[in-house]
């Protein structure tokens, strides 16, 4: 399979996902089925993964593999610290661990780390992870000469 066909299929899957999201969020409001949206997302990612394996004209070698690996490791190193810090705060909130001085944090943490906000925070963290990965990938691609040009 050619690279362009792969991008076309990814575009079609993205459109199908958007349609599913739109249908279950906007149209069928009375039928509250978040599970279908979650399942659709997982199925879409699995399809993309298997289609990606069939692409033949993507040039990958040990240098590009190293860039991907380094970017992934660095993203993980930064992300787990942020995620852990957030999780500690969330767990403290769920378990009602007393804070000192109590009056100081009382109303802020209730609103910030309430159950409804958790989903938004997770989505935000996911976006952060994505941007971290892109930033590290650009950094390592530059470091390992991705944008080098011939002088002669």
């Amino acid at each position: 399979m050619k690279k362009n066909s792969f991008y076309l299929i990814v575009g079609c899957i993205a459109l199908a996902l958007l349609a599913i999201f739109w249908y279950f969020v906007e149209v069928s409001v009375e039928v509250h089925r978040p599970f279908i949206i979650e399942a659709a997302f997982i199925v879409a990612i699995v399809i993309i993964y298997f289609v990606r394996k069939r692409v033949t004209d993507i040039n990958e070698d040990e240098r590009s593999a190293k860039i991907t690996e380094q970017a992934a490791v660095r993203t993980f190193q930064v992300f787990w610290v942020i995620f852990c810090a957030f999780s500690i705060g969330a767990v403290m909130q769920i378990l009602y661990v007393p804070t000192f001085p109590r009056e100081h944090f009382e109303f802020h943490t209730q609103e910030l780390l309430g159950p409804k906000m958790m989903g938004y925070f997770q989505l935000g963290l996911l976006c952060l992870m994505f941007f971290l990965y892109v930033a590290f990938r650009i950094y390592y691609a530059r470091k390992y000469g991705d944008w080098e040009t011939d002088e002669e």
């Binding site: 070698d61 040990e62 190293k66 470091k143 000469g145 991705d146 011939d150």
Partner: protein
């Protein structure tokens, strides 16, 4: 000397042209496997292509 373009060499040893360019410029240190492939392509010993320096690896093929 070998009348070979970076693209030709890259195709012959199964990497991208950018990787050959990065090795030439010292931006990327190849694996032992790739280093052997390059030296075998030129039918020379690996020490004639790559020079091991404590801090920097240099490429010596023309």
């Amino acid at each position: 000397m070998h009348d070979l373009t970076q693209e030709d060499l890259a195709q012959a040893i199964g990497v991208t042209r950018q990787t050959i360019l990065a090795i030439e410029k010292g931006k990327y240190v190849p694996s032992l496997d790739l280093a052997f492939k390059i030296s075998r392509h030129f039918q020379v010993n690996i020490e004639e292509v790559f020079v091991y320096d404590e801090a920097v690896l240099t490429v010596t093929v023309d």
